[in-house]
Symmetry: C2
Subunit: 433 residues, 2 copies
Amino acid sequence: MTNDTHDPALTSWVASAERPEADFPIQNLPFGVFRHPDRDEMPRVGVAIGDRILDVTAARQAELLGGTAARAAEACEAPSLNPLMALGREHWRALRAAVSRLLRSGSPQRDDLLLPMEAAQLLVPADIGDYSDFYASVHHATNVGGMFRPDNPLLPNYKHVPIGYHGRASSVVPSGTPVRRPRGQLKDPAADAPIFAPARLLDYELEVGAFVGPGNPLGRPIPIGEAEDHIFGLCLVNDWSARDIQTWEYQPLGPFLAKSFATTVSPWVVTLEALAPFRSPAYARPAGDPAPLPYLESARDREHGGFDLTLEVWIRTRAMREGGKPPVRLTRGAFAGMYWTLAQMLTHHASNGCNLRPGDLIASGTVSGETKDSRGSMLELTWRGAEPIELPGGETRKFLQDGDEVIMRGACERPGARRIGFGECRGEVLPAL
Amino acid sequence: MTNDTHDPALTSWVASAERPEADFPIQNLPFGVFRHPDRDEMPRVGVAIGDRILDVTAARQAELLGGTAARAAEACEAPSLNPLMALGREHWRALRAAVSRLLRSGSPQRDDLLLPMEAAQLLVPADIGDYSDFYASVHHATNVGGMFRPDNPLLPNYKHVPIGYHGRASSVVPSGTPVRRPRGQLKDPAADAPIFAPARLLDYELEVGAFVGPGNPLGRPIPIGEAEDHIFGLCLVNDWSARDIQTWEYQPLGPFLAKSFATTVSPWVVTLEALAPFRSPAYARPAGDPAPLPYLESARDREHGGFDLTLEVWIRTRAMREGGKPPVRLTRGAFAGMYWTLAQMLTHHASNGCNLRPGDLIASGTVSGETKDSRGSMLELTWRGAEPIELPGGETRKFLQDGDEVIMRGACERPGARRIGFGECRGEVLPAL
């Protein structure tokens, strides 16, 4: 699956892409949508390289892209990645290869096609028709279930069904957007009735999102063997959650206002093509676990359905910021430990004939590992507040406080490959209105 | 609130609008989106009158609309109602009044602006960004809860929280679209493991949908007193449901694939303006029920938050169709019996800062009354199959069979007002692939 765009020896004439810690070396080339903050123009599609953005439309207009790549670049003349996502793998691959050639050392240095990333406003990369959120970490499901049902943490359907639910598309925001603490109905277990007040148990959830490429017609499922043809690429997702709203509202129809106030996505979509060198086997089910039903089972997915992707959550409180202190890491976990693969989630989603559309966002659910330091939510890290986190400077946290900034990061590393990163998924908590 | 467009003495020069049983007399004037089946052109906005559609763009181009009405008609030059919905009540009212003048008896007869409804393809009237589904009938919640928990049918949150969940926007289809029986994971209670097979317990749910007009910015709730300014109008909704998929999948995150295979909407959106003569008090909570929390409470909503809207479900099986037999009615219920008003649902939805957008669809949940003949789903009518329905010709039904056509209708009637209807929300069950 790898080709020369993955060669770890490749370098770019963009100097910042050659820093060892760069998330966006020439082996990555993720897609995003940006706007010049000082120009009132339509958002444009770009490719991240080092600390720069390649303006795809500018490259096409300079006639630097030909054939299939040029046709793919035409689809980039849109305020979202949806038209490019709809085209499919052949077009994505051709455009990626052409951009790789354009940016590699030895090619003419075209700084006129670049702009500094820090000068651009990065947007939600797709017009998300539907956002669905899964629950694919068995460790997360076991942790959360264990808080409510210590004797029976995992429900009987978990190992058969890739559990998911519909999320809210309108409130998906790009990294950097502040998140207002929601108000909602909260009910103290000892009280007779709920009150309407700012949520007290505000939390993040560390997730990975997959953007859908070509969709499927209504009524026609997607076989597991074809599922990855329908995935354009991945991003980071913070599924902000108000645990107290959730506890009171979620029976019997699931989370609603506990989640719909905001969901943050990282702005750069790392393509499956870029992730090819980092594929790993799917989660190995413990002996005794049921095999997936045949519609969720493929040898290829079992062998390659995972990703060697390390995810982190960092926090920087207001006091830390004001004291000039850097963020501290709360969590470091592996996406490879998910019980269900992205292909299984997507195939399950369409198994009833539900139509997926280009730009739909499918999130993994909270990525939690077996160990405490790999738990992907504060609910799990503090065990519902019973074990507060101690932060530098003497602060503690059971849940998020106003002014806290949550920063998620992800990166793929493997011997023989150049490290690639996802950039950041960042948001600061604002006080309730 | 009523004005001369509601005058029951008003008549139209469109003869079919004057039939006593007409759903679309000149007092109604619902908006929809249609396409000429024999022309490959962009869908257009129209207004239903009798068995005809008024082409709003044609009326504007003929310079028959002026001022605010003309500006509203400009927003109708779109393949969806979203731009018109975004404009707000002043524009809707002006356009409605202008169309009323155009179509009333005595005005010049302009058949060139009309086309026969039966010749047009009627589409989903809005580009639905998000579809949310509530659970606002206490009778439905009690019936369904009682099947699972006979001693404790209603959960403790029900009378405090307008319970809702996110639905699937992509699979909302217009009336007349056949609905494919979904496959899914089904687990017999006696079996160790689920199977993947066509759903056996396929059902409809009779609901009312509200299309959102102007939205709210993310982070800014909508006060209850302003909620109706954000509602453009209503339609009928069939929230098709696979009960066996639902039973197995819905814990802990709610319904997902049990619902997302299809949701049918009626194509004509009856505006709140047209419904003004049919407003009624909100459901009178039984003594002892908790009062709504203050954010859900307004005197005006308590006095006028309901609608005198009668809803019906009809069925026509394949055998009935082949035998030339007409549909039979299964249910007749009143929307006025809902525990929560549409304003309460909308305000609750935005109470955490969730942004609603023009064209969003908010459905009421199954409309069931206290009596058996007003239950809005087959699950409730047959009490989960225990009391099969007997149909003419000797057929019985516990749930829907392939070839069954489900037809929903709704109408408002009141002394001193001209009856207005919603048209039909219709769909036939196709066998699983």
